[in-house]
Symmetry: C2
Subunit: 326 residues, 2 copies
């Protein structure tokens, strides 16, 4: 920076100012400084700037998995809103609370200016670190009542409940439920609870044989369907609540020639283009994942710029998309 300042005939301080606000100097000075920056190929050292100002423009984001396209939607939403003023540091927790804690510690070491978590369940140490860090923290995903700071998401419980009620409304009485493993996964656990709530409200007794947990994946969804039909032949509908499980189940039903929804109705979650294009198109829940990313980033920026203070809980809801698979 000293080089640039010397070449432009000003002090380093003026160069520093120009980099943050080009309009705070006379046009002539600005021109000389910009010319000097161009000539030297100077790239400001944000490390030094961050140390001196005790601020960074880095937002930390922790997702359970970088591979899952569901989370990619949220990441994209965050990235689109952050813009060029802020940078994004991403880590994955590997779906574990310990992994999340490690990532949080690393991020705090980098003195990130805010953090977005794709999880609302945390280790005690994680909670303490975040509370004491004094930075905005947004938890996204499953809505909770007591966020560390702010949260944006939807109710997995209510969504699963609504879908189950939809199936009940269509006259199905032996409704299977398949979810991802509920351990350490508050979202999956909430959905199972929602399913059970709907059955209870309708006075339909829950049949444990109709409830399965299944790893993620298309094949896994197909296997779950087959297992349900074989062990509980009375099953007349199934709600597969995780990722692509429902699509896998539908494709498997097609292969085996099982009529959908004649033999068995299939409902899914996390609507995407694929679920609309298969035959028959799938009834699914649609979650505003991209919007969650955008709003989370927006809440973070509002807090950083002082436009908002205090905690916030934002429910973006969900939609049920009724198609011909149910």
């Amino acid at each position: 920076m000293a080089d640039v300042a010397a070449m432009a005939g000003v002090s380093a301080m003026t160069v520093s100012r120009v980099l943050r606000d080009p309009n705070c100097v006379t046009p002539e000075t600005l021109r000389r400084i910009e010319a000097a920056i161009d000539a030297t190929g100077y790239v400001p050292n944000r490390i030094a700037g961050s140390l001196a100002s005790r601020r960074t423009d880095i937002v930390g984001l922790i997702v359970p998995s970088l591979r899952n396209s569901l989370f990619a939607e949220t990441i994209k939403g965050v990235s689109d809103i952050l813009g060029s003023e802020h940078h994004l540091m991403i880590a994955d927790s590997g779906y574990t609370l310990k992994g999340e804690e490690v990532a949080i510690r690393a991020f705090l070491g980098q003195r990130i200016c805010g953090i977005i978590l794709h999880n609302t369940k945390h280790s005690p140490r994680s909670r303490v670190m975040l509370q004491e860090a004094g930075i905005p923290c947004i938890e996204t995903g499953n809505l909770i009542r007591q966020p560390i700071d702010m949260t944006v998401g939807f109710s997995n419980h209510d969504a699963a409940c609504t879908m189950t009620e939809h199936l009940l409304g269509r006259g199905y009485r032996h409704i299977g439920f398949v979810s991802l493993p509920t351990k350490d996964n508050d979202r999956a656990a909430e959905r199972k609870a929602g399913y059970l709530t709907a059955l209870a409200r309708a006075g339909v007794s829950a049949n444990p044989a109709l409830v399965l947990e299944s790893p993620p994946g298309l094949k896994s969804g197909g296997q779950a369907l087959v297992r349900l039909v074989e062990t509980a032949p009375e099953v007349d509908a199934v709600f597969l609540s995780g990722d692509v499980l429902a699509t896998g189940a539908l494709l498997e039903a097609n292969r085996r020639g099982w009529d959908v929804p004649g033999r068995i109705a299939i409902a899914g979650s996390d609507d995407n283009e694929l679920q609309e294009c298969v035959s028959p198109p799938l009834t699914t829940l649609r979650f505003p994942r991209y919007e969650i990313g955008r709003r989370a980033a927006g809440m973070l920026l509002d807090r950083l710029s002082g436009r908002s203070t205090g905690p916030a809980i934002l429910d973006l809801g969900y939609e049920i998309i009724e198609r011909s698979s149910t």
Copy 2:
């Protein structure tokens, strides 16, 4: 850090040393320092550390889109190899060279210790900045002969050529080709070139009516198929080389009752579980995207640790997965 040092009865320097190498002090000193860190909740300031040491442990990664699950594979590969010693800063270029340049400039300002690009075509300024930055730079994706520094990927040209030759070998002579828009996308352009190479080698004249560009998406793939069949009814096979285009085309063929491969054969690229689960399962190209991420990160770490020097070009190849859609 001064607090911790005072509490442990040592100098700040000793604390600093312990944080980098716990074994460089006596066990008793280590114990006292660790106890003090625990008691104070001290989180080392990596910003200050980076400024003093003029190094960071942040790796920059630029992908065309954060939303696309193809890139998610590579991101995951990078993330898995980097481990907890290095951190990942991610930006998307929005598929534009200008976007990439902006991200590169921002990353260099953060003094990243290395960079991985998911693109092998860059703006002139980008190339200059990267060459002068003096950090390891890995270009992934389409293999090129003159990398800025190092590259790992596969030949899109050869892959598309192989797939086209596969179709020719099955006796198809009116082979359509659909790709993503080739502008600013070296990968799509290379694939189109590979398709044309295979036709030329086989002495089959290329028919411009059989070559389409199409935006990404399942529906878009279906539309491309329909357009091809309607405008050039003699078409007997089609190779859709982008993302989920082929799956969309197959689902559309199913809906319209067109026999695959009887009426028209369909081949795709970027194999995934979905393409195996549809009926009929799709013949596709399989690219080692996860492995590319792993190897790219590995090459970066090797360079940083001094285990390797100089440029490198790593071809991870591709596979053709022959299934019943062709």
